[in-house]
Amino acid sequence: MTEAARPVADDPKAAVRARYEPVIGLEVHAQLKTESKIFCSCSTRFGAAANTQVCPVCLGLPGVLPVLNERAVRFAVMTGLAVGSSIRLRSVLARKNYFYPDLPKGYQISQYDRPLCEGGAIEILAEGERKRIGLVRIHLEEDAGKSLHPEGKEGVSTTRVDLNRAGVPLIEIVSEPDLRSGAEAYHYLTKLKQILVYLDVCDGNMEEGSLRCDANVSVRLRGAKEYGTKTEIKNLNSFRYVEKAIAYEIDRQIARIEGGERVVQETLLWDSARNVAETMRSKEEAHDYRYFPEPDLLPLDLTESWIEGIRESLPELPDALRERLVREQGIPEYDAEVLTETRSLATYYEEVAARSGQPKLASNWIMTEVNAVRNKTGQPIESFPIDAARLGDLVGMIAGEKISGKIAKTVFERMLEDPDGPAAIVQKHGLLPIDDEAALRTLAREVLAANPGPAAEFRAGKEKTFAFLVGQAMKQSRGRAHPEKLQAALRAVLAEEG
């Protein structure tokens, strides 16, 4: 079915929206997890008192020079290789000149026309479909310090500057304008973060600022070849805000065009309290950054063999890991997607699957029970109280019919507090299943004796009361009765006395 013939909802807004194609590109800045800053040996540790992780170099004192951090280059190359970029053997660092109080030198050392990585792509899962989002480039640059704008006394406003962050290494990842919705942007960011965390090059934490995102948004009529005018949205501090802000901006641009006005090329700030994007008041003039190659650093020359060495030492990446789990464990793609959220979760899963011999059951347990607890507590899998060995044993017990699924859930709860193995906990709390026929018949007789009315009704032909009787028996056995065997015993006893 062609775009034009797509059925249109009753909602008139949707009808209008359907005529337009949003075009979105994202620029993401990721702080690299190096020990020291990109051009000096100051620590990059988060949370130090203001202006204590600084030195003449990152303070921009007269006479200082930058010296490039090897690991920052390594992490940037790892990222480029992971997303299939081509790595330039000679790339150039360049000065981006502008004045701001948190930019000590009056220029930022970045990259301009010869970035370290070019091309590449990130694959996302959007509405059940796999989609390839192209990348333009990835380049290295230094972070600026922090400017804080509290109000001063007598309404005179000042800015306070902390330069601890100045010089922390960043990579800037620029996507092609291949995204088509706020939701796709959300998925892109999730996937990008996942890759960076897998590589252990970045924490990927938007709330703490180790991952930052600006969105470029435009719309055009479906079928049009030219791009519309784009706006840039800044101050997006979470993946959800990115999604919301993009959706907002798409609608705003459509409304303008429908209203006969042009979209103005401008920079907007997202206001997450009011859920609107506002024009930035200052910075009206377009910046002239006067880029030129950084003379203090010389071009960055890499060798093929160095890059190959990095390629060989890359960890298994999310897509490959996901595919491998599907292949080796025979679990569905959906499961593998969830279980590879982080490498540590995938490792956890593999251990549980191996220990229990139950790949699908292991997957279910992690996706439902384990993740339910983690969603509440926010714990990473590394600090989850039930390790893979214990969970593997539990899952094994279920598979071996040593306990029922229901009892297993109780055991699981206990295991969160009690470091003992599942078998020991079952013993301790008397949770062994009752599957002995004689015991079950005794139980059945007790239940029938305690419920003469329903027993009589059943014998009189009311099938529905059977479920009630089963429930009572389960209750009395505190869930330990083997469900199928209990039912068989109950039927037998009912038939006996019938």
Partner: protein, 95 residues
């Protein structure tokens, strides 16, 4: 490319440099003379010539190993600050 007072003002703004009104004409004149002089480069045929990216040849220098070191600067980073607020540098706010 003639440089006039308007251009001087624009570049001065880019460079955050105040040029007194009384000095603007003179600056424009002097810059214009210099730029006229450098126009000679326009006549050269530079087809196929790469810009100089480094003056000395040789193996690229080693990159710095990633080790955090405490700062050797004995004085507090803010000691030379024209204005400070406790641990912070303080500046007037951007308009």
């Amino acid at each position: 490319m003639p440089i006039d007072v308007t251009t001087v003002r624009k570049i001065a703004a880019l460079a955050r440099l105040r040029v007194e009104t009384s000095e603007e004409e003179r600056m424009a004149r002097e810059l214009a003379a210099i730029l006229t002089y450098v126009e000679q480069l326009q006549a050269l045929d530079l087809e196929g010539i790469d810009p100089t990216s480094q003056v000395t040849e040789g193996a690229p220098p080693a990159l710095r190993p990633d080790e955090a070191r405490p700062c050797e600067v004995r004085d507090d980073a803010l000691s030379a600050a024209p204005d400070r607020d406790g641990d912070y540098f303080r500046v007037p706010q951007v308009v």
